[in-house]
């Protein structure tokens, strides 16, 4: 038995440690309270609560550095919709649907044209989310957006991100048409806008994507889904012959296609399929998906930190642009529009709320790390304040989805940080990340 197969066995065992009966309480309760969270990264942004910390006396916001995920979209690929549609239609013709299945088939059929070939596209709800976020940013930090303020916006070159940027900037323009906003989308910036992409010279073919066969945690994911999921039960409610379903592929993958259909439907609002799964089924599928993101883009020890460490390029961009802008006073805000995995990378890099803690016992994972913190339109915002009587006295608040989050650095003004402390911390984490990338770079 060679070393790699020993590792594989160990990983499989660690997966089995995930006992399905011992639900991790925190995530379970949170999802109970807001079922959108069971849709993980497909969930809709919650606009209900915002942190309204009152800044220490005498400070005023003057600069914002932001990274936002694109707004609500259709499934990442049209193939999820096509698969579910083909299976239902064929089963309908073959008399293989249960009465529940017939009703679902009919419901899906009546809206299918609106899903057809729309994989990856931003929806109208996705645009509305950005208008809303822009308007809230404008209202909450009026002093940043003075008349004619210069704002720089960059997006990933993926169309939904360009559309997201455009919608956000339109949201600001609606508040104040005099704002001087420049928008750009360039492959030349992708090495930091999407640090885990092939455009980053440090990324190799074994690092890229979400379902790369080279990923060392694939075996764990496989054993985890066998422990957690019961696709026969799910399909048994819709199809009267599970063998018919099996003709279309692996039951786990097929169930995931239906999950994606259910989870992304609120993003377009064309139909509601939330009754297709039971709450416990959704919770289990979410756990599987949560592991996938945690293992791939978070602090899972199996990948040695290599994935999140790539995001040092983005952290470096945020810090160096802030330095430049604070010195020149030229830009009032830097807006960036990209993807969920980059927000996960950055939250792990910064160890937001303990997000860089590795979890070996996967049954505990949902307590530490939740993919639903990065829903559609999710964002990170650094809001810079300065003391009116001493402009060199700069403090920063840092938010995930407009709520203050905690970093492992001392602050006498929490949830605000002195920029000098925060910057030193960011630079230290950049150094750690660079070192990880270097150490794990294949020769």
């Amino acid at each position: 038995m060679n070393k790699s197969s020993i590792i594989k066995v160990l990983m499989a065992i660690s997966g089995l440690l995930f006992s399905v009966s011992s639900f991790a309480q925190k995530a379970y309760e949170e999802i109970k309270a807001d079922p959108q969270k069971a849709y993980g990264i497909y969930g809709l942004y919650s606009f209900t609560s915002v942190s309204n910390a009152i800044p220490p006396k005498g400070y005023e916001p003057f600069y914002i550095s932001h990274f936002g995920r694109h707004g609500a979209r259709f499934a990442s690929s049209s193939s999820f919709y096509l698969k579910a549609h083909t299976m239902l239609s064929k089963a309908h013709s073959a008399g293989k649907l249960t009465p529940i299945g017939e009703e679902i088939c009919h419901r899906y059929d009546s809206v299918y044209l609106k899903y057809l070939n729309r994989g990856g596209d931003l929806t109208q709800i996705g645009q509305w989310q950005q208008h809303e976020l822009a308007s809230r940013m404008y209202e909450n930090y009026r002093s940043v957006f003075y008349k004619g303020a210069k704002i720089d916006a960059h997006s990933s070159n993926v169309p939904r991100c360009v559309m997201t940027m455009s919608a956000f900037c339109d949201g600001l323009k609606l508040e104040d048409p005099t704002l001087d906003i420049s928008q750009a989308s360039a492959l030349a910036t992708m090495y930091y806008m999407l640090p885990t992409s092939e455009y980053n010279p440090e990324v190799t073919s074994a690092d890229a994507g979400m379902d790369n066969p080279a990923f060392v945690w694939n075996a764990t994911l496989d054993s985890l889904q066998r422990t957690l999921l019961r696709p026969e039960e799910f399909f048994g409610r819709i199809f009267n012959d599970v063998d018919f379903v099996k003709k279309y592929g692996n039951l786990y993958d097929l169930e995931y296609s239906f999950y994606v259909l259910v989870a992304t439907s609120p993003c377009s609002g064309y139909a509601d399929f939330s009754d297709m799964f039971t709450f416990d089924e959704l919770y289990r599928i979410w756990q599987r998906d949560n592991f996938r993101y945690y293992a791939s883009k978070g602090p899972d020890p199996r990948q040695g930190g290599r994935q999140w460490a790539f995001a040092w390029t983005l952290m470096d961009n945020i810090v160096s642009q802030a330095d430049q802008d604070l010195a020149s006073g030229e830009y009032a805000a830097r807006l960036r529009f990209g993807h969920d995995i980059t927000i996960m990378n950055l939250m792990t890099l910064l160890n937001v709320d303990g997000w860089s803690t590795p979890v070996w016992n996967l049954s505990k994972l949902p307590d530490t790390w939740q993919s639903y913190r990065v829903p559609m339109a999710s964002n990170l915002q650094f809001i810079f304040y300065r003391k009116k009587s001493d402009p060199d006295d700069i403090i920063v608040r840092f938010m995930n989805n407009e709520k203050d989050v905690f970093l492992p650095i001392h602050s006498d003004i929490a949830p605000y940080y002195h920029w000098t402390d925060l910057k030193a911390y960011c630079q230290q984490r950049i150094a750690v990340a660079k070192d990880i990338v270097k150490r794990t770079q294949p020769v």
Partner: protein, 432 residues
């Protein structure tokens, strides 16, 4: 002279069916036209032809090309960098060549990796076009209907749409603007897409006997160009230059550098590499390429432009629906030159659909520099009290003619215009 030409253009009102001036004369008056589709959008456009008495504009249907952009691919910049660096190291550059290298090196960091991206100039072009649309047809925007915009999925087109629509928001914050993009629109937004069934049948970008014939006929145009004379300004050793690649291809590397640099946000220009005479002759080659590949060239039996029947169909269907329900006042579409050129050919606008046998004569009827960056087609619909509808069509905000009888000046009855379009779509469908 320029002013005289503008007055001349205005006095003709409707663009003359054949060009009043030779292409060479036009390029001599404005050498940037030699850039063909890299030509910049005109800064002065004629005033709008007044609406016929009793008619008011109420609906606009538009198809616009993205604004000015960087060169066609980032590789082109990297490749130019290595050509100049290698020649420099080998001592093969003339003093002029060294000067070009120094200037290119200064520019390089700002263009590296930017191939295909919209420039700031490109965004400004869209704002200017939006401003004029808003100012010239205010009645359309007073209407309660929404503005519906769709773009090609290519980022520069989405950014183009964004520049246009955000300018509309600046002009009026109450407008209901809806934007969208996605692969599902590409069959008409970019007719050469795999999703367009017509394109599947005439794979223009693949190697084919037709492509070989185009290359064969183009030889006469290449033969007009004195490549050694141009390149000897840059390289001191023609054998060395030949060892890089064929002299014509090497010259065109410099041509595209020169004409694309005008489109980006720099004061640098490489147009000094060429004389105006050289530019005229060089221009004829890509002009012929585009004419043959997506214009009315004889090689693909009209199918090369007929594939944009998807777009013409959408324009007609949208208009039918929007006129009937009044919900949409403006349809904006943001795509590529490869959408506009076949559309002009299919609709038989001016001479854009005319097939010319002699490659040397193409320039007399067909000039790609009239589809510059930000180029656009606009159909302006007018209605009178009794509901009669007239339409005028503009290319780059200048009225154009179609081979149908007009009611007055550039104004056609919508019925006749629509009928012509439907016949052209049928003609296109018949080819496949």
């Amino acid at each position: 002279m320029k002013r005289f030409l503008i007055i001349l253009a205005i006095s003709f009102g409707v663009a003359a069916t054949s060009y009043a001036q030779s292409a060479y004369d036009e390029i001599k008056a404005d050498p940037f036209k030699a850039g063909g589709e890299y030509n910049m959008y005109p800064e002065n456009v004629p005033a709008a032809t007044p609406a016929p008495k009793g008619y008011k504009p109420f609906y606009i249907s538009h198809f616009g090309r993205h604004g000015a952009r960087y060169t066609y691919s980032s590789d082109a910049y990297d490749h130019m960098k290595s050509i100049l660096d290698d020649a420099h190291s080998a001592g093969k550059l003339t003093p002029k060549g060294e000067d070009i290298r120094t200037r290119f090196d200064a520019l390089y960091p700002s263009v590296k990796g930017r191939g295909g991206d919209l420039s700031q100039k490109g965004q400004a072009q869209q704002r200017a076009i939006a401003d004029r649309m808003f100012e010239r047809y205010p009645q359309v925007f007073r209407h309660k209907g929404c503005i519906s915009a769709v773009s090609s999925v290519v980022p520069r087109c989405i950014l183009t749409m964004s520049a246009f629509t955000s300018e509309m928001i600046r002009l009026n914050q109450d407008m209901d603007i809806r934007t969208d993009t996605g692969e599902s629109f590409m069959a008409f937004m970019s007719p050469q897409s795999e999703t367009n069934p017509g394109y599947q049948k005439v794979r223009l970008f693949d190697k084919s006997p037709q492509r070989d014939s185009i290359d064969k006929d183009k030889a006469v145009l290449l033969a007009q160009c004195d490549f050694p004379a141009i390149l000897s300004r840059i390289f001191n050793d023609m054998d060395y230059a030949r060892s890089i690649k064929s002299l014509d291809r090497l010259t065109f590397d410099f041509y595209y550098l020169a004409v694309s640099t005008n489109c980006i946000d720099t004061k640098e220009s490489f147009m000094d590499i060429f004389t105006t005479d050289e530019l005229c002759k060089l221009w004829e080659c890509p002009n012929f390429d585009v004419y043959s590949l997506i214009g009315p060239g004889k090689y693909f039996g009209d199918r090369q432009y007929a594939i944009c029947d998807t777009l013409l169909n959408v324009i007609i269907h949208d208009a039918d629906k929007d006129i009937a329900d009044g919900k949409t006042a403006v349809r904006l579409r943001f795509g590529h030159d490869y959408g506009i050129i076949p559309l002009l050919a299919l609709m038989q606008v001016g001479e854009w659909g005319k097939t010319i046998d002699n490659p040397l004569a193409v320039k007399d009827f067909w000039r790609n520099y009239d589809v510059p960056m930000a180029s656009n087609v606009q159909l302006i619909f007018y209605r009178n009290r009794i509901g009669k509808i007239l339409v005028k069509m503009m290319l780059n905000e200048k009225d154009v003619t179609l081979p149908i009888k007009s009611v007055t000046g550039p104004f056609y009855s919508w019925d006749a215009f629509r009928q012509h379009c439907i016949e052209r779509v049928k003609f296109a469908e018949g080819l496949f």
